[in-house]
Symmetry: C2
Subunit: 126 residues, 2 copies
DNA sequence: GCATATCCGACCAATTTAGTCGGATATGCT
DNA sequence: AGCATATCCGACTAAATTGGTCGGATATGC
């Protein structure tokens, strides 16, 4: 029940991106937010394949958001970065007792997503 | 963002305990729910120090709930078992930018607890 | 006093997370 | 064209966490 560094860095970087509006390079973000450069590069690779940002190669390149910041939710970002999306991997199930816990996890996950879905990137740059 | 086995087993065991009403030993639960015995013992140690269950030593011993099953929430159980309670460990913060992400984590955690608090043990034994 | 329990701490193996490195590829600029 | 500056990509490693084990101490019922 913990947010990974990947997600934390990712969100911070996205906030950074939102504020700047122009293309900004990983190197710059890495300096501003004090995030290991190589690690941040990998995070952006994921964000890109989730189509949340797009890259511009070459000199003066970097990343920009693909959508307006009020169209991107925190949930989008977390989902793109967090590998273990499911709160519990239900292998339903060699156990003798019929499982009731499952419903709890489902409920939890739903409320989790809902909460994170409500918060848009644009809400974070006040 | 994943529920640990500890918590999953713990919840299952508590449900098991709720159904039985009498003292039931770790050994029995371990057999019924197919959970490694030694591991389950450690889980119960934590549940006990959180005062959710109490032990009876010696022959025909085992565990019972300390409170009525409608007084114990899933959140109580998870909290007792999950080490990394905080979704993000905020070391606020050597970063240059003022952090806005923090509010999101706080909000997330709050909604998380609320959701799990609503579900009582007694709701799970239908 | 013995069988059956919980209790306790150290220990270990597997997995996951965080971070690194080397190099390929794409682009802007002079 | 050629160089500097970027992203891109995969393999690799180190540290932390998780899941699980073991040996023995302690408490209790019969
Ligand atoms: S949550 Fe329940 S159904 Fe799912 S794997 Fe665990 S015990 Fe089985
Ligand atoms: S959430 Fe924000 S304030 Fe907290 S440690 Fe991360 S960057 Fe710092």
């Amino acid at each position: 029940m913990k947010i990974s560094k990947r997600a934390e860095y990712g969100l911070m970087a996205m906030v950074c991106l939102t504020k700047n509006k122009k293309t900004i390079s990983i190197r710059e973000i890495s300096n501003i937010e004090v995030i290991p450069y190589e690690f941040l590069a990998k995070i952006f690779a994921k964000l890109e394949s989730a189509k949340l940002v797009k890259a511009k190669h070459g000199a003066n390149g970097g990343y920009v958001l693909t959508k307006a910041s009020n169209k991107i939710s925190v949930n989008d970002i977390i989902s793109a970065l967090e590998g273990n999306k499911k709160t519990v991997d239900c292998v339903c199930c060699q156990r003798k007792t019929k499982c009731l816990a499952k419903d709890v996890w489902a409920k939890l996950e739903k409320s989790l997503n809902k909460t994170l879905e409500q918060v848009k990137l644009s809400d974070l740059i006040k």
